[in-house]
C-alpha cells in the first residue's frame, strides 16, 4: 500500500469514528446540542475598557519593568541611537546582528556600529546582540508582537544572548484580544509573542533566566512624531 492510500484510509477511519461516536452521544445530550453562540471576541473586549493612550503606554512600561526587561522611552530616532550605543558599550558587544527593518537600519547607522543583516546560522550563534523592531506591543502583559510579514526578525530576536527591540508608541495596544483582531495570519505566517527574557524553572522550580533564548531584553520606545 502506498503512503497516500494509507493516508486517506486513516483520514476516513478517523472521521468515521468521530461521526459514529458523536451520533452515539447524541441521545445523551440532545439538550446541549444547540449551537453555542460564538462571541469570544466580544467577551475579550469587554475586559478592556477604553483607556487613554498615556495610560496604555504607561501600563506597557510598568509591565515590562515587572518582567525584568530594561525599557527606555525616547523622543526621537537620534535619542534611540544614543540609547542603543549605551547598551552596546555597556555590554562591550562586538558582533551585532539586525533584522531588515528600515527603522532598525536608520538607528543602527546613526549609532555608527557595524551590523550584519541576514546573518547565517554561524554568525547568529556567534553574535552578541540582536536588534529588531516589533509590529505591535501589548500593554497589559508587556508583550512584544513580531509579525513575519513585515520583518525578518524570527532568529535575530531569538539566538543572540541579548535582544534589543525598537518600536514606536503608536504600535502599543492594550490587550491580546486587540492584537488577535488585527494580526493577519495569512500575511504574517509566523507571529511571535515575546514577554520578557527566556526563562525556565525546570530545576526545583527555581527561576533561571536565558536558557535557550536571550537572557536580556531591552526595549526602546520612540515617541510617534
Amino acid at each position: 500500500m502506498t503512503l497516500d492510500n494509507a493516508h486517506s484510509d486513516a483520514r476516513s477511519a478517523i472521521f468515521a469514528s468521530i461521526r459514529d461516536n458523536l451520533a452515539a452521544s447524541a441521545s445523551f445530550d440532545a439538550i446541549r446540542n444547540e449551537h453555542h453562540v460564538h462571541a469570544a471576541s466580544e467577551l475579550a473586549l469587554t475586559g478592556s475598557t477604553i483607556r487613554d493612550r498615556a495610560e496604555v503606554i504607561n501600563g506597557f512600561r510598568e509591565n515590562l519593568k515587572l518582567l525584568g526587561a530594561k525599557c527606555a522611552f525616547v523622543e526621537n530616532e537620534p535619542e534611540a541611537a544614543d540609547r542603543l550605543s549605551e547598551i552596546v558599550n555597556v555590554l562591550n558587544a562586538k558582533k551585532i546582528v539586525i533584522s531588515d527593518s528600515e527603522l532598525v537600519h536608520r538607528i543602527v547607522n546613526a549609532s555608527g556600529f557595524d551590523a550584519v543583516q541576514d546573518a547565517s546560522r554561524e554568525e547568529l550563534f556567534a553574535s552578541d546582540i540582536g536588534v529588531t523592531s516589533a509590529q505591535w506591543a501589548i500593554a497589559e502583559t508587556g508583550t512584544l508582537v513580531l509579525g513575519s510579514g513585515a520583518e525578518r526578525h524570527r532568529l535575530v530576536s531569538l539566538v543572540p544572548p541579548v535582544h534589543v527591540c525598537i518600536l514606536l508608541t503608536g504600535s502599543i495596544r492594550q490587550s491580546m484580544a486587540e492584537i488577535l483582531e488585527i494580526a493577519d495570519p495569512d500575511a504574517n505566517r509566523t507571529i511571535t509573542f515575546i514577554t520578557g527574557a527566556s526563562r525556565t524553572s525546570d530545576i526545583e522550580l527555581t527561576l533561571a533566566i536565558g536558557v535557550h533564548g536571550p537572557g536580556e531584553l531591552h526595549v526602546i520606545v520612540i515617541k510617534d512624531q
Binding site: 503512503l3 493516508h7 486513516a10 483520514r11 478517523i14 472521521f15 469514528s17 468521530i18 461521526r19 461516536n21 458523536l22 452515539a24 452521544s25 446541549r32 446540542n33 453555542h36 460564538h38 469570544a40 471576541s41 467577551l43 475579550a44 475586559g47 546560522r121 554561524e122 550563534f125 502583559t141 513575519s148 525578518r152 524570527r154 532568529l155 531569538l158 539566538v159 491580546m176 484580544a177 488577535l180 483582531e181 494580526a183 495570519p185 495569512d186 504574517n188 505566517r189 509566523t190 511571535t192 509573542f193 515575546i194 514577554t195 527566556s198 526563562r199 525556565t200 524553572s201 525546570d202 530545576i203 526545583e204 522550580l205 527555581t206 533561571a208 536565558g210 536558557v211 535557550h212 533564548g213
Partner: protein, 491 residues
C-alpha cells in the same frame, strides 16, 4: 530509584514505594510551595476568572460537538497555507509517518520540543529504532532523557528530581564539576544544546491549539527551545491530537489567559508562536517543509458520552496535578502512565483500555480539588466515578471500554448492606449504637488508630484506613438524639 517499570496496573505498589521515598517528597514539596501559590495569586489579575472558565469550556464543547467540521476546516486552511497534513489512527501509525518524513530528509538527528503527545506515542523509541537520534531540548525533558527516565509531570517533567540529583547527573553524563547552582546547570545545558541546534535540520514539536478558521497552530513555552526547533530547521514536524482544534483566532485570547495562569502561575509565558503554513517568500527565515500529524489514538472514542467527552477539553496545564493531594504525595511515576495525576487517572484508562488501568480511577480521594482548579471546568471526580462504575458493573455502557470486569461479590454485598442501613432512620440509629459499643474496644483518646494492628485483625477494611491515619470515633450522641433531648427538656 527507578520507577520506569511501573505500570498503571501496579499503582498500589508504586504509590507505597513513593510514599517511602523522602527525597521524592522533598522534590514534590516545591509544587505546593510554588506553582500552587503563584496560581492562586495570579488568577486575581483576571476580572472574571469563573466567567472565563465557562467561556473556555463552552468553546471546547462547541468544537467537540462538531469536531469533524472543525477538523476539516483546520486541515483545509492549513493545507492552503502550505502545511502538509497527515492522519494517524494510533501511535504506531504516527511514528511510522514521522520516521518516514525524517528518513526522507536523510537527517540522523532531530531536535525535539517537549510534547506530551510525542511521549504518548513513544516517538523517541521509534526514532532510535530507525537509527535517528532524538535530542530533547526542553531543559526538564533533556534532564530526564540524560537520566533515561520518563516525565513525571505534564509541565515540569523533572519535578521528581532534586537539585542534588541533577547536579550528580550532570557530573556523570556531561562531565562538569559538581555544582548545585541552578544558573550554572542551566547555562551548561544551553551551551550543549546550542551545539545541537546549530547542526539540526529537522525539528519535532507538539501543538497547544490549532485554529480552524486560519489553519494556524499555536505553541507556548518559556525557554525558547520551541522557537529554535520550529525556526532554525529546514523541516518542522508537529504532532497534534485531534482535540486540539478551536474555531477562531479570537478564541485564543481566552485560552492564553487561562493556560499560563493555571500551569505555571504566569500571566503569559515568555513566548507564543503562531505558525500558519509555510513562509511566503522562499528567502524568508523558517522551514521549507511543515508537516502536521493529526493523531486520534483513542480520542474519538471519548466523544461517545457526555461524561467521557470532557476529557477532550483538557489543555494540559497540569493544575490538577499540582492541586491533587494524591499526586503531591506519590508523584507522577506512580501512575505508571504518560499522563499522571487526576487527568492521567481519567484519560489513561480511556486511551489504553480500562482493563489495563483499573487501579487509576481509584487513585483519588474524590476531594474535588482538581475540579476547582481546572481552567476548562472538567468534572474529573464525575469522570472517575463514571470509570469506576464501568469497572464494577463490568459494563462498557456503550462508551469507551469493551473490557468486561467481574464485580467483587463481597464489595457489592457490603455496599448493599450500607445502602440498607442508611435508608431508614431506625436502622441508621441502630447502626450508630452498635458502632458506639464496638468502638470501645479500639478507640484511644477519641480516635481510632492502628493500635498494634488490632484493627486490621478485627475489621480489615478499617485496618487499611487506619494504617496511615486515625479514624474519628462515632460521637457519644447524634444530632438527632441531642435534638430529641432538648425537646424533652423543654416540655
Amino acid at each position: 530509584m527507578s520507577m520506569t517499570h511501573a505500570t498503571p496496573e501496579t499503582f498500589d505498589r508504586n504509590a507505597r514505594r513513593a510514599l517511602a521515598d523522602p527525597i521524592l517528597h522533598r522534590a514534590l514539596r516545591n509544587l505546593a510551595d510554588n506553582f500552587v501559590v503563584r496560581r492562586r495569586n495570579v488568577i486575581l489579575s483576571v476580572d472574571d476568572w469563573q466567567g472565563l472558565r465557562e467561556r473556555a469550556r463552552s468553546i471546547k464543547e462547541e468544537t467537540l460537538l462538531r469536531l469533524d467540521k472543525y477538523l476539516e476546516q483546520f486541515t483545509e486552511n492549513a493545507a492552503k497555507a502550505g502545511t502538509t497534513i497527515h492522519w494517524a489512527r494510533d501511535g504506531k501509525e504516527a511514528c511510522e509517518i514521522i520516521v518516514a518524513l525524517v528518513r526522507a530528509t536523510n537527517a540522523k538527528m532531530v531536535v525535539k520540543a517537549k510534547s506530551m503527545t510525542g511521549e504518548e506515542i513513544l516517538l523517541n523509541e521509534a526514532l532510535e529504532e530507525a537509527g535517528i537520534e532524538p535530542v530533547e531540548t526542553d531543559l526538564g525533558e533533556w534532564i530526564i532523557q540524560l537520566a533515561g527516565e520518563t516525565p513525571s509531570h505534564i509541565v515540569v517533567p523533572a519535578i521528581h528530581k532534586t537539585k542534588q540529583q541533577i547536579a550528580e547527573l550532570f557530573v556523570e553524563k556531561v562531565g562538569i564539576d559538581k555544582t548545585e547552582n541552578v544558573d550554572v546547570l542551566t547555562q551548561t545545558a544551553r551551551k550543549i544544546l546550542r551545539e545541537r541546534f546549530a547542526e539540526a535540520e529537522v525539528g519535532i514539536s507538539g501543538v497547544n491549539f490549532g485554529v480552524a478558521e486560519t489553519g494556524t497552530i499555536l505553541i507556548l513555552e518559556n525557554e525558547g527551545n520551541i522557537r529554535m526547533t520550529t525556526s532554525l530547521t529546514k523541516t518542522h514536524i508537529a504532532i497534534m491530537g485531534i482535540e486540539k482544534v478551536i474555531p477562531q483566532l479570537a478564541d485564543l485570547d481566552v485560552f492564553l489567559k487561562l493556560l499560563p495562569r493555571s500551569g505555571t502561575g504566569q500571566r503569559l509565558t515568555a513566548y507564543q508562536s503562531l505558525i500558519t503554513g509555510l513562509k511566503k517568500d522562499a528567502e524568508d527565515i523558517g522551514p521549507d517543509e511543515f508537516h502536521v500529524v493529526m493523531l486520534d489514538n483513542g480520542r474519538s472514542r471519548m466523544l461517545a458520552h457526555r461524561v467521557t467527552r470532557q476529557s477532550l477539553a483538557c489543555i494540559r496545564c497540569g493544575a490538577c496535578l499540582n492541586a491533587c493531594p494524591v499526586y503531591q504525595q506519590v508523584g507522577g511515576h506512580a501512575y505508571g502512565s504518560v499522563y499522571p495525576g487526576p487527568i492521567g487517572a481519567v484519560i489513561t484508562p480511556q486511551l489504553i483500555g480500562l482493563s489495563k488501568a483499573k487501579q487509576l480511577p481509584y487513585a483519588s480521594s474524590l476531594c474535588g480539588a482538581c475540579r476547582e482548579v481546572c481552567p476548562v471546568k472538567i468534572d474529573i471526580p464525575e469522570l472517575l466515578l463514571h470509570l469506576r462504575a464501568e469497572i464494577t458493573e463490568g459494563s462498557a455502557g456503550g462508551t469507551t471500554v469493551k473490557a468486561r470486569l467481574k464485580p467483587k461479590f463481597a464489595e457489592s454485598l457490603a455496599f448493599k448492606m450500607y445502602g440498607l442501613a442508611w435508608s431508614k432512620p431506625a436502622w441508621y440509629e441502630f447502626g450508630a449504637k452498635v458502632s458506639r459499643l464496638m468502638q470501645r474496644l479500639v478507640a484511644r483518646d477519641g480516635k481510632i488508630g492502628n493500635v498494634g494492628g488490632l484493627i486490621s485483625r478485627l475489621v480489615p477494611p478499617l485496618g487499611a484506613w487506619t494504617a496511615w491515619r486515625d479514624a474519628p470515633v462515632v460521637a457519644p450522641k447524634s444530632f438527632r438524639e441531642m435534638w430529641r433531648d432538648k425537646e424533652n427538656d423543654a416540655r
